[in-house]
């Protein structure tokens, strides 16, 4: 087993990204945590520890902490070494992850390969710069453009970004699990238990009138469902129900 561990080598870009990505992330984290204290100290408004951390606020953190864990555990293997940049610039699910997946689809590269991670990094970096530019422009021109973004139609449409994103991504995901020169046949079978459990849960929640609550628990569901999906996929792969074949073979 120890021999197997030493065989997983990274290329020069992956090694660079893991080293400097961590350093860059750490700097941002320190900056981000320190910033409120610097601003509040300037206005002599630093709250006491008890005001910040008490039973009520802790209950809020209890909801968001698992979401953070879930994002790191589920998104990092997909994003690879572009994860550092994606996490620093945020908006992963609604922007960075789809952009990275789109880039890998366009160039027919797979996650967890040097090519896939490099192309995902290009896409995430471009997307991050674009978002910073648009948000800066919006913040600077807030008084001029805010009426447009406060139109009821724009507000309504922006509330449906996630379903629109999933609709646009679903085709690429389920229609083809092609990865470079290989194609995974029957990969969807491995997550069928997850689909069934989530469908039953969603319908039950809707019937009970708690449908809207489920959206806030996605992070927890992903943590619970990941082992189920991995285990089922592994068993089916071992039994030959999920196969990896050459692309040419699939196309015949």
């Amino acid at each position: 087993m120890s021999k197997a561990k030493t065989e997983t080598k990274m290329d020069s870009f992956q090694s660079w990204a893991h080293r400097w990505g961590r350093v860059g992330t750490l700097i941002v984290l320190i900056y981000m945590v320190a910033l409120p204290f610097v601003v509040l100290a300037a206005y002599d408004s630093i709250p006491s520890l008890g005001e910040v951390f008490n039973v009520n606020t802790f209950s809020i953190l209890l909801i968001y902490i698992p979401v953070g864990f879930s994002e790191a555990l589920s998104y990092t293997p997909i994003l690879g070494c572009s994860a550092y940049l994606a996490f620093i610039t945020g908006n992963i699910m609604n922007l960075k992850l789809p952009v990275a997946a789109n880039a890998m689809n366009l160039t027919k590269k797979q996650p967890n390969t040097p090519e896939g991670e490099a192309i995902a990094s290009v896409a995430v970096a471009v997307s991050s710069l674009m978002t910073v530019a648009i948000l800066t422009l919006a913040a600077v021109c807030a008084s001029f453009i805010s009426p447009v973004f406060e139109l009821p139609a724009v507000k309504t449409a922006s509330g449906y970004l996630l379903p629109a994103l999933f609709g646009s991504m679903a085709l690429g995901l389920f229609a083809s699990s092609s990865s470079g020169s290989k194609v995974v046949k029957g990969g969807i079978k491995g997550v069928l238990p997850v689909l069934i459990i989530m469908t039953v849960l969603s319908l039950a929640a809707r019937l009970a009138g708690y449908g809207s609550v489920l959206g806030g628990l996605v992070g927890i569901f992903i943590i619970v469902m990941l082992p189920i999906g991995i285990l089922t996929s592994y068993v089916l792969w071992k039994k030959g129900k999920i196969q990896v074949v050459d692309k040419e073979q699939k196309e015949k």
Binding site: I63, P66, I88, L95, S121, V122, L161, G190, V218
Partner: protein
């Protein structure tokens, strides 16, 4: 304000360095300049619509937290859904009926609580990413090596994304009619654009399938809200 600008400049510089390194490495790996150009164009266009949605969130947050803090939170680390949800949750905990009421009446120390909690609440992901990010990336290779077959890596690579979709899609499909209709509309448009892209001279559409279908899905939400709302 200077602190925020400094932070944003750092983020932009970090992104540029990442971009340069990744771009050069893609060329070394044999990815052509044309492919890279397509990826960059597609990523830029694809990023516009979600970024505009984040701008809508920015104006919501400006009403709650003021422009500078909202701008910072949405540019660095934060996400649209997280920021809007946690700010309203904290407003309720602090005893305000709404975020808007909090903006009008909260004291400086109460704003301090909001700012600190928003910053601390997002740290958990980094507690995994910083120490274990490299291991998580290598875990797919390691799992493949340990199971004695390299093809397991191809399967496992896709499982993370499939699980995420398998969690999200039933929730979006079965808990709300408008969400379901928007998602199906996006999917139908993606299929339509994909079919069109197979016609002679329209192959360039392949680069924009996701962007067009997402935009179409968003626009359709206005009709679906009227029908189901």
């Amino acid at each position: 304000m200077g602190d925020i600008l400094g932070g944003l400049l750092y983020i932009s510089a970090f992104s540029l360095v990442y971009l340069k390194k990744a771009y050069d490495h893609c060329l070394e790996l044999g990815i052509t300049r044309k492919e890279l150009s397509n990826v960059i164009k597609s990523s830029l266009i694809f990023s516009v619509v979600p970024s505009l949605s984040i701008v809508v969130g920015l104006f919501v947050l400006i009403a709650v937290l003021g422009s500078v803090w909202a701008w910072w939170r949405l540019s660095v680390i934060g996400s649209l859904s997280y920021e809007t949800m946690i700010s309203s949750s904290i407003a309720q905990v602090l005893g305000y009926a709404s975020s808007a009421e909090m903006l009008e009446s909260a004291t400086g120390r109460q704003f301090g609580v909001v700012m600190i909690l928003m910053s601390v609440g997002m740290l958990s992901g980094f507690l995994i990413l910083l120490p274990f990010g490299k291991k998580l990336c290598k875990s797919v290779d390691r799992s493949a090596a340990e199971s004695g077959g390299s093809t397991w890596k191809n399967v496992l690579s896709g499982v993370f994304m499939l699980v995420m979709f398998s969690v999200y899609i039933p929730i979006l499909l079965f808990t709300d009619n408008v969400q379901a209709a928007v998602m199906i509309t996006g999917l139908v448009i993606a299929i339509g654009v994909g079919v069109l892209a197979k016609r002679p001279g329209l192959a360039w559409l392949n680069n924009f399938v996701m962007a067009f279908s997402m935009l179409g899905g968003l626009v359709s939400s206005l009709a679906w809200v009227r029908i189901f709302g």
